[in-house]
Symmetry: C2
Subunit: 431 residues, 2 copies
């Protein structure tokens, strides 16, 4: 019997958890494709954007996470489309045939038809985006320090975060806290505590996925860090000068985008129905119509939970989906179980959390609702525990302990994108 | 009495040590200019390039290092030239007058009139260069893994380091070690141990500043990590395909430059004699002719030690020079001492060291010569001790302890330069 070829596209929470379950299983050969060389612990990405952690603290090479599984090969490659009829994924380095395909390519930020806003309002989904946001936020304080015109100085010290979900709340809270504590002593001409942070949300309240009482508490916590919350405020334009909300124009040098996502374009190449956000509509076993060998997982797929509401785009859902798909495949390869007998995927809801600044959070965990410092500690333990790799856990704990004691932010680096000392001398051999 | 204005350009080892000595001194106002927001611990930069440390581990915000000195302001700005007649530094944000000027802007790599080689052979002086080298080295292994043509695969697995000084030796040793140990288990199609690392040096031997016996030991250590050492080999061309040495053409996808430096161009704007490497020729008190108020420090200045040989371009020299200049200024401002009475600068030679891979080094310290593991531990303690900031020391120790135990390299990230998800949609408000 030749081994079954399982191709996993995307080494996020869904893909990595599926790969680990299929590691060293007889009769299965796994290929993991990702355009990056690292698995990213996305729930902590905002900490990189806010200079509390370094990129390497939350990203681990895919190869080293999977090195011990001799039946898994990892290829750094970009998938372009899927040919479901011939069971092939085509990518930039050629075509890869599969017997089972697992797609978990995630999502990126959506600008609701205004993709040109991105230049002025970066989203937060990748490491380069996180370091770009870090650069912009820190640079704004530097420019304000040397700026003499009061209006421009005020513009530099105005930060707008668009989108009142967990990411927006975390970004706004972190900027508020950074300006009030970490940076307070570092400047001479400006008082960073004069910083304005505005959280703009189109809906009637922030953190809609949380219960009312928790969201209200989060609002109070944000306001105590100086964050202004504008609900029912729809952004109509974003430019280099600032943001237009309805008829109001707010001058701001730093605008961050945390509103809405769009699933990876790979899903559209399957030629099956997708929802308005581009998520593939999947069967109860997470596969697509007529192709029980093609699973669509994580933020790429559109699913409904037991309560009739769509499943949230969080790591826990993706992890459980990856494990579910891998277990089905293992069973079928090992012997006998037919796709028709598959039980439907059921999400075990372990809860959700959002953190506000250095020592406040809100969390819901199996009915247990926490706020304030206890929620923050709970959040810290859960995240550090879930970080892949012992080393990452250790250094993240050291950084946090240090930040907690000193209000410092260790990774306050503004790093330019251009590495060359002689940029106007291109090498002819390179062209 | 109005306070004397001391302007320090460059927050390297010379500038930071001078600034700290002048901190909170009555009658002195200090302005520190740097185009970056961070002080960089350059001796460990190769560890970032070799994926063992993160940028933030060796870089600390200048502002936070100097926050406690109320008479120091820090400006992120680029100095363009010095008007010594009118005692002004002009920079991108305007002109800054001074009573004393300290220039410590360091050096960059020199390509001996072939600056166009830089695109194919990056040097190692800044953080963006370090992450670019890291990206190139790691990417070469990724490409080799998916490459099917044996000749191209061999080219991807050939690394050439040009320049046999401490930086070249450290880079070559680290690549050799990474391929033999860290990456050995991670790949399926290639055997990273087949990697060729070639250290090319134009002179008759490597590490010319070290004693013969130590350099010979370093050579043996490098060879045990699989590094080939080509001495007396002059590079005549560098292209995207590889390197030409004399009449030989070596195909290599990754070439690194560690040969020769050129002092910051700011020195030339002083209109005083400079040496062939652009270093300002200074008086015994490190000032320039006719201007006892202008000090030129560190890698920007050309000085001769007690033994008649030029002082090396290392951190210890720059630190001592910064302290020397600050002490003179303090004395003269506080009362009375005239520039004519200045004692000449004398370098206290504490020795030098170079490290080869994970646990070998050579060091000379006040006549004590060490090799092997003891030199490595000595090197580690000296460097960790000298790292600015307690937090940096702590996390570097954690990373090293971890790397030492596991042969891992925690920061093995390939991070793209482009942060945008929608790159072809420029925002009109941004142009």
């Amino acid at each position: 019997m030749t081994a079954k070829q399982v191709v996993i596209v995307g080494a996020g929470f869904a893909g990595m958890n599926a790969a680990k379950r299929l590691g060293n299983v007889d009769g299965i050969q796994v290929t993991v494709l990702d355009r990056e060389n690292h698995h990213l612990f996305q729930p902590l990405l905002y900490q990189v954007a806010m200079a509390a952690l370094s990129p390497a603290d939350i990203a681990v090479p895919i190869r080293s996470l999977l090195a011990k599984f001799r039946n898994i090969r990892v290829l750094k490659a970009t998938a372009r489309n899927v040919d479901t009829a011939n069971r092939k994924v085509s990518c930039d380095i050629g075509e890869i045939p599969y017997d089972y395909l697992l797609l978990g390519c995630g999502a990126q930020h959506a600008y609701f038809g205004h993709e040109e806003w991105e230049a002025c309002a970066p989203g937060l989904k990748t490491l380069p985006q996180a370091t770009e946001i870090r650069r912009r936020v820190l640079e704004a304080f530097e420019i304000a320090e040397r700026e003499t015109h009061p209006e421009e100085r005020r513009r530099q010290l105005t930060f707008i975060v668009i989108g009142g979900g967990p990411t927006g709340v975390e970004l706004a809270g972190a900027i508020g806290e950074m300006s009030r504590y970490t940076l307070a002593r570092d400047f001479r001409s400006i008082d960073p505590r004069q910083t304005r942070v505005i959280l703009v949300e189109a809906g009637p309240r922030i953190l809609t996925s949380f219960d009312d009482r928790l969201a209200a508490r989060a609002m109070r916590d944000l306001e105590s860090l100086g964050v202004q919350i504008w609900t029912g405020a729809r952004v109509t334009d974003v430019t280099a000068e600032g943001v237009v909300v309805g008829s109001e124009k707010i001058a701001s040098a730093t605008v961050l985008w945390a509103a809405g996502v769009r699933a990876s374009d790979l899903g559209r190449t399957l030629n099956v129905p997708v929802d308005p956000a581009g998520r593939v509509i999947t069967a109860p076993d997470l596969t697509i119509e007529g192709h029980p060998e093609v699973f669509v997982l994580g933020d790429m797929s559109s699913r409904t939970g037991a309560n009739g509401k769509p499943l949230p785009g969080v790591a826990l859902v993706a992890m459980q989906e990856g494990i579910y798909a891998a277990n089905l495949i293992k069973k079928e390869v090992k012997g006998g179980a037919a796709p028709a007998q598959r039980p439907p995927f059921e999400y075990v809801d372990l809860g959700q959390m959002a953190t506000i600044g250095r020592s406040r959070a809100i969390s819901e965990f199996r009915g247990l609702k926490l706020t304030g410092v206890s929620a923050w500690w709970f959040w810290l333990l859960v995240h550090v525990y879930r970080l892949s790799g012992f080393r990452a856990r250790l250094t993240v704990l050291v950084q946090w302990a240090w930040s907690y004691m000193t209000f410092g932010r260790g990774a306050r680096l503004i790093v330019g994108k251009d590495w060359r000392a002689y940029p106007d001398k291109p090498n002819p051999g390179n062209s």
